[in-house]
Amino acid sequence: MLNSQTAESVIDHALSLGADFAELFIEKNETNVVSTLSTEVQSVESGINFGIGLRLVYGNKVLYGYTNKTDKDELFRIASVLAAKDLRDPVSCTKSFNFNQMTDIHPAQKILSVDAEIESKVAYLMSADRAARAAGEKISQTRGSCMQREQRVEIYNSDGLHANDRRHYIRAHLTAIASDGGEQATGSWNDGGLLGWEIESSINPQQTGEAAARQALVNLTARPCPSGRMPVIIGNGFGGVIFHEACGHLLETTSVAKKASVFHDQMGEMIASSIVNAVDDGTMTNEWGSINIDDEGMATQRTQLIKDGQLTNFLVDRIGAQQTGFARSGSGRRESYKFAPASRMRNTFIEPGDAKLDVMIASIDKGIYASHMGGGSVQPGTGEFNFAVTEGYYIENGKIQYPVKAATLISTGPKVLKEISMIGQDFSLACGMCGSISGSVPTTVGQATLKVDDILVGGNA
């Protein structure tokens, strides 16, 4: 996308201004989104993002600029503007570019640049809509979408790195709305991966529609949730969002280096219950949070974050490595050329255990089974988090009693890690978007169903 002569001259120029390190990140990103409202195609949107990000590093200081233009003069101009306050004699010189052709470990077949397959996506969403409506008369509406994206990136840096990658993202989503008089409730389903529309063969529209409708119908009958401190069983798949938000972000050197993480000085310490093993893995074939190389050009890897409750690794990008001394983990990621890279999660999960759901439920006198979690937020400095339960049930005397609505789980990351007492076998992954300092990136969360002994449940019963 940018010829190597131009790249070399821009990086040479940046180093001539005294930078310790210079990097060019070139990105072209095509996107297509098909959206439906019940039985009609609501919109088809498509577009192209293109731009170049230039990063200069002086010591621990990061200077970053970007442009939509590809000409050398514009890139020189940005480098000069960025370096204007830090000019000094050159301290390093560019090494010859060594093009590194990475093996594509996430092959895709039905890719966007060949065919957007709009008819096929519409047919899938229409089938899912029919399945949802067939699940109950109270399903009044569905909203569906298929998003496909093809991101090409090319990276040059002053260490002589020249790497590129082509990432194919696909994600399908359906929300069902159930209505009964003035009451309305929603249920949703989604799946995705780092592959093309061939995902169609593994996402059955009948199951898609039924899953969204089932949750909407359950929520329509849900009662206000009891509140207070109690044990909570957190469902598999997207239940892993709590670990992602409340613990994963605290293990990124983006917050560790600033000492804005409660775990910044706890490497090697027991930070979790001894049954907890947690991993962040960018190599999982065709998973939504996977990559071949990170956005700094390094091959991705599997990183064991917690082993038997002990903190074993952080997620480390180039600047994080420089600031903390920990080795890079292929975790430097960014939303687009508009962001400097930062240490970010990929596919992050708690490994499965051997407990059974019925045993977990039977062990609780009064508590909540949060079978499906929604989003939430976390305060990295303190680890305080807040997550919504999108499908939950009240447990009393070891049995599920009734579905509950408007429930929220509140605790802190360090506390909840130590309160995990049982981990099940039903491991699964779920995809989402993670927003942080370098923008919004695709990430996967995951776990088996697990039990937390004490957590604050917010409800309005």
Binding site: E45, F50, G51, N60, L63, Y64, K85
Partner: protein
């Protein structure tokens, strides 16, 4: 001719000529921006970011089918591809008889002196401000560090052209200073932040951000849960604006058209306490939600949404207005990457008669921080459950800092549980909403 030699208007003309040649109508949004962003750490500049961007967003309507496409590449081939993509996308979409390109050939332009004032400020001055905020906060007692802080100066421009001849231009500038500090005292810690915006860099006041951030951190350091029960609650301005924002779709003509707005059939009905009056006031020049015209080029005006507790209107663009057989209210919204929607510009809640001492009488919970705003709310049902922090107060005095609680309820029911409305309005930090304090009764708090 290559597009690199053309100005914005010429490129727009070229795109719209291609649209009309294909037998379609269309409008084109061109957003451009330049930003300088600075962050400090340990007394040094940590990040210095400069950016310039431009994006074209096209909407076409052909035989009642609507298609959109966008591009950040603007060479002649890219612009031709933009038109082709939008037309192709339209061919898959249902006929939408209510959505048309308005017959609006106006030339519109906002006041640059008002929205985009210029001044002589060097990059050194900006760097010094970023360093000063971090340094002055970091040296305060119990502050461990200031992990998130920064100063930004952003210039934005939006140009809208249509095949009917609309040419609408708005330029704006926003300068921002913000800081989040982490304070620690033994095992206790707290992290809070604040920000300030202004149109002139010289009007940024670092002391305002520093003092407010520090006060919020220290105030909550000793916070602990309170017993679960129903309390009277007063949200601070930031939180109150956020809560109303989460449920703003209750005013949307678009969600009403789509069948998911619970207020769809309640126009003319009482939906709130009779003292509640809500306007959208896009022409208040003191705010950053100021809009002279909407995304279709329709002139905006002050709209009464809820008057004395009665829902008076939903907000509309020309398409939702046509669907409901009414007139557009000047609330069309569209970004380069999105389809036509509706959006509130600048919400204003009218002040009422309750003075501070009345509003703050007896026991109540002052909520100063909310977490999980979007994940914890269902705008269709009105149910919500948010993490919260704040202060238990008695007669206007903060008697206990409160953390680790949730506030839960149903927003639409809460509008009828207003016990008092203050007599003074306050802007939120972003200056996009103007509201008095409202005291809600009987709100479920779990601790």
């Amino acid at each position: 001719m290559g597009s690199s030699n053309m100005n914005t208007a010429q490129m727009a003309e070229q795109v719209l000529d291609q649209v009309m040649s294909a037998g379609a109508a269309g409008d084109l949004i061109i957003d451009e921006g330049e930003t300088i962003s600075l962050k400090a750490r340990d007394g040094e500049l940590e990040e210095y970011k400069v950016s310039s961007s431009r994006i074209f967003g096209l909407r076409v309507i052909k035989d009642g089918h609507i298609g959109t496409a966008y591009s950040e590449a603007v060479d002649a081939d890219a612009l031709k591809s933009l038109v082709g993509q939008a037309l192709n996308n339209a061919s898959f979409v249902k006929v939408e008889s209510h959505e048309n390109i308005l017959p609006n050939s106006n030339y519109l332009k906002t006041d640059d002196e008002l929205l985009c004032p210029q001044e002589q400020v060097s990059i050194d001055q900006k760097i010094q401000l970023a360093l000063a905020i971090e340094n002055r906060l970091a040296t305060k007692e119990k502050v461990k560090n200031v992990p998130y802080n920064g100063v930004q100066d952003t210039f934005s421009q939006r140009h809208i052209f249509s095949s009917a001849g609309l040419n609408a231009l708005t330029r704006s500038r926003m300068c921002t200073a913000y800081a989040y500090a982490l304070v620690e005292d033994g095992e206790k810690n707290a992290m809070q932040g604040s920000s300030q915006v202004s149109r002139l860099f010289s009007e940024l006041n670092p002391s305002l951000v520093i003092d407010k951030t520090y006060e919020k951190c220290i105030g909550l350091l000793d916070g602990k849960p309170i017993p679960s029960k129903h309390y009277d609650v007063i949200f601070d301005t930031e939180c109150q604006v956020s809560v109303f924002g989460v449920f703003a779709m209750m005013f949307s003509g678009k969600t009403a058209k789509d069948g998911v707005n619970p207020m769809r059939d309640k126009i003319g009905s009482v939906i709130a306490d009779s003292r509640l009056t809500i306007y959208d006031h896009p022409l208040n020049t003191d705010g950053f939600g100021y809009h002279l015209f909407d995304a279709e080029g329709t002139a905006t005006e002050k709209s009464g949404l809820v008057i004395d507790g009665c829902l008076k209107t939903l907000i509309h663009n020309s398409a939702t207005a046509s669907y409901f057989g009414t007139n557009t209210t000047g609330h069309a919204s569209r970004g380069p990457k999105s389809t036509l929607g509706v959006n509130l510009h600048q919400v204003e809640i009218a002040s009422s008669s309750d003075d501070m001492s009345t509003l703050h009488s007896g026991e109540y919970l002052e909520v100063t921080d909310l977490a999980g705003l979007h994940s914890g709310a269902n705008a269709i049902s009105g149910n919500f459950s948010f993490g919260a922090s704040g202060y238990l107060c008695q007669g206007g005095e903060r008697i206990q800092a409160v953390r680790g609680i949730t506030v839960a309820g149903n927003f639409y029911e809460m509008l009828n549980k207003i016990s008092m409305i203050g007599n003074q309005q306050h802007w939120n930090e972003d200056r996009t909403a103007l509201m008095p304090s409202i005291r809600f009764s009987d709100v479920a708090i779990s601790g």
